[in-house]
Amino acid sequence: MSGTASTGGNGRLLSDTLAAAKAEGRSALIAYLPAGFPTVDGGIEAIKAAFDGGADVVEVGLPHSDPVLDGPVIQTADDIALRGGVRIADVMRTVREAHEATGKPVLVMTYWNPIDRYGVERFTAELAEAGGAGAILPDLPVQESALWREHAAKHDLATVFVVAPSSKDERLAQITAVGSGFVYAASLMGVTGTRASVGAQAEDLVRRTRATGTGLPVCVGLGVSNAEQAAEVAGFADGVIVGSAFVKRMLDAPDEAAGIEAVRALAGDLAKGVRRQV
């Protein structure tokens, strides 16, 4: 199950997983959870629970001291993880254990400075070796990404770029030309966090992204927090990305075990949403 190449990453597994969801006539469910939150082992169990509940793909957050694109919920989780002493080695262990236990694709999502500092070659080699499928690097714009893409491609790691409602059509063409895995379409202008509604901007952005002629799946994130919203987004996108709602379940739970069960339950609800069974 876990990819074809023995030493390479699982970029191919990510593409196959999204294609399989499409073949079933549904959107994929992509969950985000930070590594090291609330503990490294607790974080791994939460990710396994998200998969068990029905997530097709998980993005593992590599916490950063300065998460400028995250709202208060993920800021709080990152802060807990960093104060707990989470290191990149712990993120790699999280990726490895989550992938090995489930055979599912696991991405890393983080800011550029930790990878720049760690070394692009070292990071991509270790991520591939851990069974990772790729990375989402929202503050690494396409014009600064050549070095990352070169090393990622060498290890069969997907490079998922974010597009925004403000992206002009020529930017969308530039980004989809070099991205891989899928395209992360930000549903609205803003940072991560749950929203009461996901705006009409999202559908328009998905349409404009597809109009570039890209063959990449287009998945929508930012603001989605429940099955109804997931079903709405599933009506026009190839995947639904949910982050803050999972993290909030963990933060609000009385203890770690209850938080993990809440993650499993939310994934179950959202899995129905992406199948439009709500």
Partner: protein, 427 residues
Amino acid sequence: MPSDFFFPDPTGQVPSAEGYFGAFGGKFIPEALVAAVDEVAVEYDKAKSDPEFARELDDLLVNYTGRPSALTEVPRFAEHAGGARVFLKREDLNHTGSHKINNVLGQALLTKRMGKTRVIAETGAGQHGVATATACALFGLECTIYMGEIDTQRQALNVARMRMLGAEVVAVKSGSRTLKDAINEAFRDWVANVDRTHYLFGTVAGPHPFPAMVRDFHRVIGVEARRQILERAGRLPDAAVACVGGGSNAIGLFHAFIPDTGVRLIGCEPAGHGVETGEHAATLTAGEPGILHGSRSYVLQDDEGQITEPYSISAGLDYPGIGPEHSYLKDSGRAEYRAVTDDAAMQALRLLSRTEGVIPAIESAHALAGALEVGRELGPDGLIVINLSGRGDKDMDTAARYFGLYDTDAEVAADAADIAEIEGDAK
């Protein structure tokens, strides 16, 4: 007619089209901000060559700010600097009390040209926030200022000034609750409200074109100082000295002197309790290249790229990054940077106050302390220009507590002894 006060870099060599000063700079920004940042670059390019923009800015700089700012010789202070001749570039005399207004008025005009109605800004010591709130009052723009919670406490006077001017001041409670976190929060606001909002960035950091644009608006400091020192001393200085947090006042002073290779450019970073203690914000002395707030530059960080919490008694210098052009000037050897402790800065603050009747901002006092050292190194033939980037009114609470100046403080009794100690130190 060419402008008397607006001098976009005539060399045009750096930054590159992609915003790089050598290995530093660039544009590390989320996709959501790409269109807005590109718009700023395009509008600024247009404004640079538009005589109407220069005319409007000149009018404001003369009749509102009060440019040109004076160059004041400080002979009693200079006695403590090895007898070198010392001149202060008096940016503290600008309207609002610091150099920050130069950049703010330029970007406020740009905001109007872009048709945006709301301005956001970060502030550390509050000087950039006050200048921004001032320009927003002048131009009728909505204004929100982000300020670290710790800074709202130690610079409470400036919080009141901003509110008096009609700005909303948001105390930022995340991270180290200082300037870095105020910038993070301003970026979050900008991503969500970019349609009608301009982020009036206050220093020569951030993504391209901010480092070059903010520098251009401050180049007037060095252009004036160069002309003034030639008139007054008959020659170029041996050293131009400025404090560096993000680096805007320093780049403003340095830039016109870059081609004058005989002029040493010396930036003074905050060493806090001492670089060896780890409690400092001496980015160029102790940092490593990395990405913070949209560009590559020296950054205080750990071995896995987490930004470390800086410390300085000066809210305006309490920042773990630095403008990319300073990193370029450091690595190329054109500028040199040294670290100045809290204590050295505070002693220099009191020394200037008591020898010259000028109370400097704690930020600027780092440059004064650095210049005392430089003067002793140069000896009596030395000639130094220091950028006095701001006035110290906002720092009186910090200074009063540091020196025990309130009536309730027992140390007031030791006042006379303090003077003797200062005079004694220098001889």
